[in-house]
Each structure stands twice: as structure tokens, then as C-alpha cells.
Amino acid sequence: MMIKKENLIWTAIRTGLLGGAIAIFLCLIGMVEVFSKRDVIEHVITLGDFILFAAAVSSGVIAARATSDPDQQKQPFKNLIAGALAGITTGILIAAFIELGLKVNLRVVFLSASPSLFNLLTSKGGVWIYPAIGIAAGILGAVLFLLPEKFRQPITRAIFITFLMALFSGLFRVVMINQSGAIANLAKYLFGQTGLTLIGATIFFVAVVAISMFWSARSTNIQAGYSRIPKRGQTTIRIVVFVLLAFVALALPQVSGPFIAQVIVIVSLYALMGLGLNITLGFAGLLDLGFVAFFAVGAYTVGLLTSYGAFGLQHISFWVAMPIAVLVSMMFGAFLGLPVLGVRGDYLAIATLGFGEIVRLLAGSDFLAPFLGGPQGIIGIQKPCLGILGPFLKVDVPRVCNGIEFGGPKEIYYLAVASAIVIAFIALRLQGSRLGRAWMAIREDEDVAEALGINLIQTKLLAYMLGAAFAGLGGAIFTVLVGSIFATSMQLIVSINVVSLIIVGGMGSIPGVIVGAIALIGLPELLREVSEYRFLFYGAALIMMMLSKPEGLWPSQATLRELHHDDADIKPESASPKSLKAKG
């Protein structure tokens, strides 16, 4: 079926308008201006230019795709026209916006439509360069669409990875410069002060293309070769890989420096909370939006017990305080779970949210200030000491540690990662245990579960308690990382983040929790340079994840089945995806 000429033009223009609208949106929220201070390739193209260009290229790709008939042969000429048309529409829209901005004072409404923005936009060669670049971008997009899969995948991958390298260039640079001469020189060669060097970008691009093509050409051979090795050999290879990974994990903080170690610590703590919520929500289906309360309890317990400040109660060592904190969190889990045992579904969500807020309000209130420090918080928390801890002398004087003191992120890294691994292991065992199956039964249908003899009260309480215990452990480690504790750290947003990360990672799946933590917590921490737009990307990423991969990044088998993923390995069981109810 021939695509009518009018349809072609109209579709292309419509796509171009969408691309232009997105480009204007990016200008109006100030992203273009802020990103222009950062280069993708030093002295060649800034991040701001890049996103505008990307908008035009994307509209080219989409236009090409929209105007090609999947049944017919690809018609390159038509797609190119469509791409060019879309690109030029985007360009014209941007140009029109600039013209408007120069004549009318848009700043009255939109703060970012400032003179400096328009100066920036017109500094490249005037207003009418945009349609010209638009055509080129659109054609480029169409070309990308038309490329055979063999070439397109490596090229898109290369663009993506080079872009990532540019974003993280500051980080890599700082880490590598701190090492010895050769690596430091390499860093300066590849990474400039504000972005990649031209050579660096070229090298990354070419390298990724080369590796991609090599892998796709050879991968089947390699995999066939691997399966031909005898079982013993395979296990040996696996052990070797495992040992290598362990070595990397152990050496990482020493090499990469305290900042990356700190990011990993924070990711591990969120992963700990995620593993806890995974039990409450993922296994047992109890939607708890007040999870940060248990984190707070663990943190405050450790703070009160180990602080050498005015609020320290006992001045005991961290290694004793930590299990106590876990126990106290467990009790709190029961305590807060009891009133809401009979509450279901979304009511549970708001009730637990309320509990989370109550805990935060009480912790920071003047009412409980004599015990919990009030707004001033608890400061002076003793760092863990692997050795003998000197005696408590007087208020506000830290105790001397005769041994290894876990003073900074580099040391606490080991504590945090080890805890995460241990807890993940425990969670895995729980998943396969009878208790774990009881939880999943409750999640699917409470009444049926009760009819089958599962004690609802006991099982639910255990879900709350164990979830709380894990979160409490996370709180305990957080306290010694920061060295002080304030009620303002216990906001609702933390609970929301934990819920998001287990769903994005894959609900009920333990590797999913870790992946979710890395994606939703680790990445934004590493990208602090674009921190103003961090939450914008975060929100967009959440939406896009749910639209494209709702089962999560590393889903459990159950979730995959329920969302009847079109995967050859998974047999689609029932037609209706209703079972994943997270009921109370």
C-alpha cells in the first residue's frame, strides 16, 4: 500500500512540530542555557547544543519510522524526505521561537527566556541557521533509521557510550589524575576540563563501534566455544571471574577515591532498605509508604547509644549498638504494623505514610528534644573501631580508637557492601522458605491464604518486622557515615525513592533491588553536575520505565509471567494480567 503523499508530509511535519516543541521546552526550563556551560566535546559542541541537535535528530528518526510501511521494502528516498521535512520543521519552530523571544519579553512569564539565552542561541550564526541544521539533523536521523541493523546498533551504542563518557568525564578525570603519572596523562589526553577532548571522543566512538561489531560477529563462536569446555572447566572459569570481581570490589575504594566510595555506600544503604521493603511490599504485598520511619529508628538508636555528645546515653561501641538498633527497629516494625493489620490496599499506603511522617515530626520536635535532640539533632557520633576503643572521657570529645577506625567512606564502604551482601543472602533464603511462600500467598489473596491455614497476623507482622530490621541496619550505617543525625534526613521522599527503586528494579526480585538502587540512586549521585535537573530526569525515567518495561530491569520470574512479556522462553499462562495486586 502506497503511503499517500499528503500523509507523508503531514506526518513528517507533525513529528517535526513535536521535536520543535520539545526543543522549546528544553529552552524554557533553562536546560539549554545551563547545559551550555558543559561541553560534550571540548571546544566543539556543548551539552546544550547537543540536546537541541538530539531533538532534531530524534524527530528525523521518528518521522522516518512513521512514514515507512513495515510490509514493504524500505523506501529510502521517502524516508529521507520525511526526515528532512521533520528536521526542518523543528528548525523552523526553534527559529520562530527565537524571533519571538527577541521581539517580545517572554521573561515576564518564563524566567529562563532571558536575554542571555537568546544571545546564546543566536551566537552560532544567527536565527536561520537552525532550519539548515534541522535539515541535516533530520536527514541524519533518517539515515540512522535506514541503516541495516548490523551498522545501526554499533553506531547508536557508540553515540550513547560516548555521551555517557562525556557526562562522567569530570569524575573519571579526577579519579585518574590522582593515580600515577601514566594514568594521569592518559586522563588529560582523553578528558578535558569540561568534557571529552576531540581525540577522546573519537577514540571512544571508534572503540565502541569496533568492539560491538567484533562481538556481534564473534559472539556465537565464543559462546559455542564456552559450552564446549568440560563442566569442570566452566566452573573454574566462573570461580576465576568471581575472584576477579571480588578483588575489584575490595580494591575499588582505594583506587577510585572517597567520593565514589561514598556513592557506593549510599547505593548499598538504599539497597538495604530496598531489600527490606522488598519483603514487606515485594513478597507480602503490603504497600508501606512510611518505610523511612524504620530507617530513622535504626539511625537514632545507634546515634543515642554511641554518641559522645550531649545526647549519648550509653557510649557503647558501634558493634554492640548495631544489633541493638536492628532489634529496636524490629520492635518498631511490629509496633507500627499492629494498628494497620486490618487495613487494606491503598488505605494502608496512606496510613503507613502517616506513620512515617509522625516519626519524623516527633524526632525533630521540641517536645522530644530533651531526648532526641530536636531540630539540632544528635552530633558527635563515634565511628566504628576495629580494635580497642578508648574510654569515654567527657562530653563532645571523641574516643580514641586503637586499631582501624572506620572514619570515612573508604572504610565504611566495606561495612556497607558486606552488610548488603549478607542481607541479600538472608532475603534470598527467606524467599525460598515456607515463610516466604506464606508471604506470597498473602500478596495474591489474603482470604484464600487464611483459608489455607496461614496465620495472617503472624505472617504480616513478620513481614513488617523483617523489613524494618533491614531498614534499621541501613539507618545505623548511615549514621556513622555522616557522623550526626537530623530529623530532616527522614523525609517522605526517601520512602518514595525506596518504593520506586524496587519497582523499577523489579518487584520481588533481589537482584532487581540492587539494580534499581544503582540506577535510581547511584546515577543521580554521580551526575551531580546536572543536579538542577536531576529530578526532572528522574521523573521522566520513572515514566518511561513504566511505559516500556513495567516488570522492572531485572524482574523475578513471577512478575515476568504476570505481565505476559512477549518472550519465547516464558510461556504466556493466562490472558489477564491481574494477579499482581499489592494488597494490604
Binding site: L111, P339, D346, S500, L547, P550
Partner: protein
């Protein structure tokens, strides 16, 4: 035999604890009230002031809660981004209101200016809600419950920071409308004009919404879809159109609430919608989720308890700075209501999941 004894003991412990919890709260409430009245710290006029503040705040909560409850009733979905819809209405009304005030129109025709400001807020919030529904919610209609929730959370963040990008992190101050300043006297008690007007406007909007839902054809269709989606489709109702209309109506209410809020409290910024969003959801649950009169009742009760609670219950018990805990009072009240009446004050009304 042993297990069931252990289980019975556990049951007993749980019931005991729950009853203890209820009694403790009731005791605190009664004792606090008694001591406060006895101490006589506040005059009768001040108590009336507290109640009026509560009604004014509560009517705004009620308007926002209406949107939550309608969407939940039809889709069983917590529209987390609803607070941001409210905020967008406040911003939408801001520019019009400022322009009207600066040009003097607001002074000449205050009533007309007021209405225009509210309508512009409603327009902006409805547009944004429709956009969000189209992009973030519609593709996920059949998905398990938590998936649209996360999408809504994402939409909430996205909207907040979009508005921050557009308008900056600072506060925007609504213009001072002279027609709204001053007090009116009711039985010798002075009540602020703006609060009365806001409360009346809120009630009018709720009334309009109620009539739409009860007496018009589209309202009947909404009720049908909210009752049972599949059967309504069989009856020839365009379910998609009804869902979109529900979103639009709820958003319009929230937008109006935004403008009213801004006229009362004068300061708005990109984060303004977050806390009222949570409170309004609490109010919706309090009154019975899915239940429109329930949302109104819930909102008013929440507003009044937040306003009167700290002074009435906590002040005389010797708790310092009781207003820091006003949210805590609201949440404890919610839990208490859920313990006594698990489906809210007026009962829930949600669609059957076939």
C-alpha cells in the same frame, strides 16, 4: 494444639494492644480538651477563629480531594501528580491575577476579576492533567496497580521540576486584592473576608461538581463507569471519554483550589503542591475513598482538626510547640478512623475489579 494456643495468645495480644492504643488516644483527647477548657486560655472568639481557619483550609483540601477521589473511584489509581495539578492551577491564575490587578481591572470589577482568575487557573490545570493522562496514565490502564503509581510519582517529579525550570525556585506572591481585605462581622465576631469568600467559592464548586455527577448525563455515565467499567462499556458508554472527563473535572477542581489557596496564603512556588497533595489524599481516604461527599467531609474534618487540634488537645498537656505536631495529629486521627471504620467516615465507593 500448641500452635492454636500460641495463635490465640497472639490474637489476644494484638487485640489488647489495639484497644490500648485506642483508649490511649481517646484519653489524650479527652484529658487535653478538658484541661484546655478549664485553663481558659482562649476566648470564645478565638475558638471560633480556630474553627473558621480550619474551615477555610479544609475547603481547599476538600476541593483537591475531590480530584483524588474521583480518579480513584474509576481507575483505582492514586494520582500522585494531583498535587502538582493543584500547583499548576495556582501558577496559571497568577499571571492573569497579576495582570488584572496591575491594570486596575480587579479594583473596578472585583467579582469578575476573581472569577476570571479562577477560570484561568482551572484552564491551565485541566490542560496539564489531560497531557499527563495521555502520556503517563492511558498506556498503563490495564497494568497492575503499582505500575501507574510509579508513573504518577514520576509525573509528579517531572511537573515539579518543569515548573521550577520555567519559574525558578523562588516564591511568587499573588497580588493583594483590596476587595478581599478586611473583615466581616458575624454575630459580633470578626471573620476575615478572604476566608469566607474562599470557603463559599469552594462550596459552590463542590456543589457544581455534585450536580454534574448526580444530575447530568455525563455524570450518570461517570457513576456507571465507577460502578463497573465493563458493564458500562456494554451499555454503550465510551469508557475512555468518561475517564478523560473525570480527570478533567478533578483537575478543574484542583486548579480552582490552587487559585483560592494562592489568594488566601499569597505565596506559591514550584513545591507548593506537594504537601497539600498528601493532605488531600489523606482527606479523601478519611472521608471514604471514591465517595464524593466523603471527600468534602474528609477535607473539612482534616482542616478543622489541624487548626483546632494543637490548641485543644496538646497545649494544656504541657507539650511545648504543639503546632509542630499538627500533621501528626491529623495522621493519628486518620489511623483512628481507619481502626474504627476501615472504609472511612462515609464509606468507600470503588469500582469492582471484575
Amino acid at each position: 494444639m500448641r500452635t492454636s494456643f500460641g495463635e490465640r495468645l497472639l490474637d489476644l495480644a494484638v487485640s489488647g494492644f489495639l484497644w490500648g492504643f485506642r483508649i490511649l488516644i481517646v484519653l489524650v483527647v479527652v484529658l487535653g480538651t478538658f484541661l484546655t477548657i478549664r485553663a481558659g486560655k482562649y476566648t470564645g472568639e478565638q475558638w471560633i477563629d480556630f474553627v473558621v481557619f480550619g474551615i477555610s483550609q479544609g475547603s481547599i483540601y476538600a476541593l483537591i480531594a475531590l480530584g483524588y477521589t474521583m480518579v480513584y473511584g474509576i481507575l483505582r489509581m492514586i494520582n500522585f501528580a494531583h498535587g502538582e495539578i493543584f500547583m499548576s492551577g495556582a501558577f496559571g491564575g497568577y499571571f492573569i491575577a497579576t495582570w488584572l490587578t496591575v491594570s486596575g481591572f480587579m479594583d473596578k470589577y472585583p467579582a469578575l476579576g476573581f472569577v476570571i482568575a479562577i477560570l484561568s487557573g482551572m484552564l491551565v490545570s485541566t490542560l496539564i492533567a489531560l497531557l499527563v493522562e495521555r502520556i503517563a496514565y492511558r498506556p498503563l490502564r490495564g497494568a497492575p496497580r503499582l505500575v501507574p503509581l510509579i508513573s504518577a510519582i514520576g509525573a509528579s517529579f517531572f511537573l515539579q521540576y518543569t515548573f521550577r525550570g520555567f519559574f525558578g525556585p523562588g516564591v511568587y506572591a499573588y497580588p493583594s486584592i483590596t476587595a478581599l481585605d478586611g473583615e466581616w462581622m458575624f454575630f459580633g465576631v470578626g471573620v476575615l473576608k478572604v476566608q469566607i469568600i474562599v470557603a463559599i467559592a469552594a462550596f459552590v464548586m463542590m456543589g457544581i461538581l455534585y450536580s454534574i455527577v448526580m444530575f447530568t448525563k455525563i455524570g450518570k455515565a461517570m457513576r456507571a463507569v465507577s460502578e463497573d467499567k465493563d458493564v458500562a462499556a456494554l451499555m454503550g458508554i465510551d469508557v475512555n471519554r468518561i475517564i478523560v472527563s473525570t480527570f478533567a473535572l478533578g483537575a478543574a477542581m484542583a486548579g480552582a483550589a490552587g487559585v483560592l489557596y494562592a489568594l488566601t496564603y499569597r505565596q506559591i512556588n514550584f513545591f507548593t503542591g506537594f504537601t497539600p497533595g498528601i493532605k488531600a489524599f489523606t482527606a479523601a481516604v478519611l472521608g471514604g475513598i471514591g465517595n464524593i461527599p466523603g471527600a468534602m467531609v474528609g477535607g473539612l474534618v482534616l482542616g478543622i482538626v489541624e487548626s483546632v487540634g494543637p490548641a485543644l488537645f496538646l497545649d494544656s498537656l504541657g507539650i511545648p510547640r504543639p503546632y509542630q505536631l499538627k500533621d501528626a495529629i491529623a495522621y493519628i486521627m486518620l489511623v483512628m478512623i481507619l481502626l474504627f471504620r476501615p472504609s472511612g467516615i462515609l464509606g468507600e465507593r470503588v469500582s469492582k475489579k471484575a
